[in-house]
Amino acid sequence: MTQVISKSDLMVWLGRLSESHTLIAPVNDAEITLFRRVSNVEDIALDFTNTTLSAKEWFFPPTETLFSVERKDGQVELVPAEKMEESVIFGVRPCDALGIALLDRPFLNEPADAIYRRHRDKTILIGLSCREAHPECFCTSMGTAPDDPSNVDVLLTEVADGYIVQAVTEKGKAILPQDLLKESDVTPPSPPSLSTVSVEGIEDAMLRNFDSIYWERLADRCLHCNLCAYVCPACYCFDVRDYNDKGKIQRVRSWESCQSPGFTTIAGGYDRRAGKGPHLRQRFSHKLLYFPREFGSAACTGCGRCVKVCPVNIDIREVIADVQNLGGKSGQ
């Protein structure tokens, strides 16, 4: 037997959660769907295939204050970032939940990023299985699936008259609305079929073809627009700067991309990674070779967003296939 919640009771539950927590959920905004704070559950979008941006921004915001600098009686005082609210994020797809699990590896690796850890500790994830897929989706190739409960606290799967409710963690179990759940013998629908790419041996293939002309050729059409990194649930390069607004000083972290010209330029102007080929190779090498070596799996969830947004049609699935078919020398 499985536990099911009806569509109207889901809204009752989310309404209750919005009273005890900050509720963050997909909201349609013009032509796009984004995770936003919701005070009225009627604003929640349920008709999306996937959100335009992942929920990454609620753990690793596009810009966030690390600390403020204040002066009291001539003495400098550093004031840590504000405490976060207890939050529930509803509607996270399994690929994006994997993205959060991937971000955990660098950010929680000791010495842990204190602000990221606070975001994580104070947030409960309610996942939503996928009933349909985009043509760009390939999550099953990257170790997750449209109905994968692994990286959320509760997983909901849509069925004819409601949602199957699956508590995955203790944190998830604690927020289940027992009075709204009904026992049911409904079986989950079969997940949508997706495009696939074989990643077997990709690390070795990346190593073998590190010096291939392939990267220069591929990068020839890259515009350095950084959209791929901006939409990626697993990209985490960041910049740190000070902002001084009429004496109100803050140290701010913001999203950055290894595709930015000057990413590796040092004082005096020397750039050890000059040129488009090495820049684009860095993106794929980090995802498919370095991150796996450091943390055990690729820094890609198969969400397909980078494929969808790239203005020059650079497709990570094609890159993975191409590199495996290139005949580079055996690696180090």
Partner: protein, 277 residues
Amino acid sequence: MGNNDPFIPYLATVQSVVDLTPDVKLFTVELNDVAVRESFTYRPGQFAFISVFGMGEVPFGITSVAHRNEGLQFAVRRVGTVTNALHELGEGATVGVRGPFGNSFPLEDYEGKNIFIIGGGIGMAPLRPVINTILDRRDSYGELLIINGARTPQDLVFAPEFDIWSQSPRTTLELTVDRGDENWTGRVALVPDVVRDVKPLPENTVAITCGPPIMIRFTLEALKELGFADRQIITTLESNMKCGLGKCARCNVGDKYICKDGPVFDFEQISQLFEMP
């Protein structure tokens, strides 16, 4: 650092500022918190970030040696936004310090060996604590040969210490400049050519170099001509970096991070990196 948040620096006060060259100043800072100050220790080759609040934060090799208790020192060349702001600071100014980060020169492993230091310009900053550690434990090491180059005589960074270095036992200091002036009677030659001229023997010797990328490239060639193996040539790498924690991904070179796995590498390790650092 403070508050268990590795992004929050320790507050520190500038104790003194000394002009070393027309564009390099030596800053001595003291950490404000007594308990932090007493537990803060570091090894030659490690680096720390200095904050000028409102302008930003940049990493510098620490140029003092911890055991001398002379304060935490940084030699800063005026080249960008933060270093320009630092140069405007005087005694008593408040800065931030995050660190120490990175590995260090394994000086214990070099005991009994001859040490050959090759530094160019501000590249002498991370080499000074190596020299001073060896001078303070002079009997533990063999010959010490220092080649120090700069653009002009005024740009030789640690000139006030040259007499102490050159008068130490079994120590030779060779200075060279790209362009001399009316008072300069020393060498006018590029650092790699001085290496070729001095011809140190590679046997039982470790070469440690730091300087502009172009100098390092040609110094490496000169050392190899003299028979030095990659493993005997050590350097400390410079990189753009934002965190020092292996997270911002700015300093990664292949699957290594300069901030965590370095900044000190030997050229055998560097030749195994996928990318040229």
